[in-house]
Symmetry: C2
Subunit: 207 residues, 2 copies
Amino acid sequence: MRIVIPLFDGFTALDAVGPYEILHMLPDADVTFAAAEPGTITDGAGSLRLVATASFADVTEADILLVPGGPGSIRGTTDGALLDWIRRIHPTTTWTTSVCTGSLLLAAAGLLTGIEATTHWSAVDTLESYGARYTARRVVEQPGRIITAAGVSAGIDMALRLAELIAGRTAAEAFQLAIEYDPQPPFDAGSYAKAPQAAKDYLAARH
Amino acid sequence: MRIVIPLFDGFTALDAVGPYEILHMLPDADVTFAAAEPGTITDGAGSLRLVATASFADVTEADILLVPGGPGSIRGTTDGALLDWIRRIHPTTTWTTSVCTGSLLLAAAGLLTGIEATTHWSAVDTLESYGARYTARRVVEQPGRIITAAGVSAGIDMALRLAELIAGRTAAEAFQLAIEYDPQPPFDAGSYAKAPQAAKDYLAARH
């Protein structure tokens, strides 16, 4: 079970690490973080560095491709080499997946044209501009083999569903227990529909 | 707002990255990943490497100390240098915090004696063996300045509460919205009390 997670400068760390923490528990999981060149890749917030141990050229196939988002994924939509690599890997996968604005990379690579997908709430228009049909669910599973997750933390929910599809419900429940994923957020502001206007204004003022 | 996250071989990546993804949004946040020596630190699953940019010797104070757990934190309870460093940093902090079995490090350093704390469900007896009073809540906040979170994913909930304490509720809600933390786990197996026996048996058979 080869799991490949591409990294690029400006990725969002939790997009990658949330699902990673589930998927590495799959039977015979072999996780590779890959990038244009092996080495240290800095996240979108600028304080975290993950190591890519393989180059995109080294990775020619995957059972699961998991594409994270982040500010760098917006820039990535014009990175021809990255998009070409995604187009090369996709035909080899059992599951091609994304978290957050990672779906913009799948879309820019032409994989989401005419199909249902999701993304971070702030990137809906951009996703649709590539011809994907935005669907306001946390995890959007296509009958084919593409699964997209909403913003950042939604990757954890997606990974649990993916674990169920691959290893069965008991395994997925075991992984949920292993990471003690019994979420109890102290507020109910995690979706654009539910967040108070003041929280939206706060975020807008940061940018 | 200096936020310091110690790393050690065998840490659990989500313990660190979940809270990181919230706390780096705090006003004037300055996040440092530190380790015994600067360099690449491998997680407990063995496939992920995070970069520590500072050594413990370089870091002499923190506003927030956030100690992750993982298999390495169990070994860390006998690492005198790590425990001494935690004892040196604690008097300088506004908040000393842990996620998952990171609380065993705080406990082994003597910081939890006689006070309420939590940890991963599998480490309750060990936590209590250090004289802490285990409390079955997801986030345990001491009147002093110590906050401990339950297993792995609980660090996200803890970080939102910490953000509220530091920057106010609207800011914390904005951070929740930014990471679209509107959890929808596909199963209800995230706590030991609720997980089916088959999931517990599956985990036990892995070890």
